[in-house]
Symmetry: C2
Subunit: 330 residues, 2 copies
DNA sequence: CATCGGAATTGGATCGTTCAAGACGGCGAG
DNA sequence: CTCGCCGTCTTGAACGATCCAATTCCGATG
């Protein structure tokens, strides 16, 4: 059992004081070349690692960021969070931060958890996923002066705080243009009920692109709660209409999957495009819009560390472009 | 901006000493009823939370457990980890522990990460997912005396360490019995190359059940590397054989999905059963074997905290039963 | 009334690190 | 020659909790 290696052990081994070792770690430029080398050799030889708890107690910085892991809802969209988390953890590690998970049943308890995490572990910052209009969480965090970044725009005021997002409108626009280029005119959209930032954004890309092409979107829009069954129901409904749409764009892969089932039974030639490029889409050959999740996660960490290290001023938000992944269904 | 609340603040507010406050938190029974109540009121009034860094420095316990987040391989099985992580975090929180994530490109670097995490953050324990024969990680951890639990059996020596696992053989056995009950005899199995603990386990459940029913499994077994394409290829191969199998059991949903495509083109009536009950299976109506992931995660935390709190001796391993989820394909 | 014993409470030391302030030697300017 | 300064390094104190040993308090007992 090797003795515990502290900064004092290293200092003794390198014939310098504790503080000099600390300086080599935190402010190398103020230590003479030769001394620095000797200390670094001692660190390597002893396998010394700074004790974060002690460091944190003195500096108040924990080098820890937290992110919520949500219960997988319908499962289909679950792997989105999965990929995001992996990217986040990887980039954070490269920047010297570790990632802590937490769960929360609802928003009120999520805020209580912030309080707990900040009090108990002195977390340096938070990454929030999925913001909505008037999100109380961002208000709470901002009010406390806690650094955070959201994956998802603050839909009310784009300058309210740091954020990274994927341009959903650009995604559905690309999908719609793709279908227009294939000769379709009556392109329908199955989205979510109006009011959610993400849903309205995705809908607008479709609507504006149709309008720009001189097509009136009236009657081609359906609002569905997410899920396969809902997607199927609304697709059937659309296909049964008088002048039926000849193509479908959906706000999620779940909806698209349901729509696909309806299409295959009723009108197999009608193309369907989903959103999120989930494994399910890949498995069934569903054309879908892919979000650059690894990139998004990396930019979240970039922004957060920029705020934490305080070198630069408030960093600019990041809006990433999704990409259409063409498969069999369109 | 509220002042920082420490144990001293609470002590002052409750008119007692620091140590008494500490005792209320860590050994309530040695504090007089009335004093305890007063201290607890002060804690609530001030919103005091014990600083984990300070506690850790003195006690050496961080109340932190770590788990690796792997890059999603083919995406289909990704959500398995997702659900496991959520369960883990939730149960850990209830037990007063927090979950930290880490990534690692390979086993050697994973071990280096253990060293780093232990040195820097004094992690209390690890949860490993997916063990294999002669896993160097468990040997390293055991050698250092670091508490850990694996989700997955130590395939070489079942008493080597604490573990939780799902009985894969029981799962494939149930699937096979289900098909036998439906009148099938020539039931094939598409599994992984021999040598992996999980793969061999799942294969054995099918083989033994067939044998018990008086069916010779020879020629009904294919070894495939995981993936949709491989599943399709082997299924085609099987269906083209002289006495073709009338039903298929697969070691994963990926393989089953490929097999399903082959079946639908060649012999639509042949049932297919997958493994893991991923969202993809649910979406396409694939009958599959479901692992109780939330339960598994909870038991992992139970075992780990039992070891950490040291109240009981080495806790017994846990083997959970999976369940067949019947859908359209079988 | 003095003493005793055990429970309840207190003050000091400690964990490993960084901050603040100071020591030391050499060097250029006044 | 002295002073101040700079670069380099060292020492003491502090962060907030727990452990340990010492002390107070209290009723019971000799």
């Amino acid at each position: 059992m090797p003795e515990k290696v502290t900064i004092a052990t290293v200092a003794q081994h390198a014939q310098v004081s504790r503080q000099t070792v600390s300086n080599v770690l935190n402010a190398p430029h103020i230590v003479r070349e030769e001394t620095r080398r000797r200390v670094q050799e001692a660190i390597a030889a002893l396998g010394y690692r700074a004790n974060q708890a002690a460091r944190q107690m003195r500096t108040g910085r924990s080098k820890l960021i937290a992110v919520r892991i949500e219960p997988t809802r319908d499962g289909i969209n679950g792997s989105v969070l999965d990929r995001f988390l992996h990217g986040l953890t990887e980039t954070a590690e490269a920047a010297g931060y570790r990632t802590m998970l937490y769960t929360a049943a609802d928003t009120a308890r999520e805020i209580a958890t912030y309080d707990d995490l900040l009090g108990s572990y002195d977390l340096d910052g938070f990454v929030l996923t999925g913001t909505d209009h008037g999100d109380p969480r961002t208000a709470w965090l901002a009010g406390r002066g806690v650094p955070f970044v959201t994956f998802g725009r603050p839909w009310d005021d784009l300058d309210a705080h740091c954020w990274v997002d994927v341009d959903g409108a650009a995604g559905t626009a690309e999908a719609t243009r793709h279908l227009l280029a294939a000769g379709h005119r009556r392109i329908a959209f199955i989205g979510w009920p109006a009011g959610s930032g993400v849903g309205d954004d995705r809908c607008s890309g479709w609507r504006e692109t149709l309008r720009a092409a001189g097509v009136d979107p009236t009657g081609l829009h359906r609002e569905a709660t997410d899920g396969i069954a809902e997607g199927e129901r609304h697709a059937r409904d659309l296909l049964a209409a008088a002048p039926a749409p000849t193509a479908l764009v959906c706000a999620s892969d779940s909806l698209a999957l349901g729509a696909l089932q309806a299409v295959r039974e009723v009108e197999p030639a009608v193309p369907v495009i989903g959103f999120d490029d989930t494994p399910v889409a890949a498995a069934v050959g569903l054309t879908s819009i892919s979000q650059p999740l690894g990139e998004a996660a990396a930019r979240c960490v970039d922004l957060l560390t920029a705020v934490l290290d305080g070198t630069r001023g408030a960093p600019a938000p990041v809006l990433l472009q999704p990409a259409l992944v063409r498969r069999q269904t369109a």
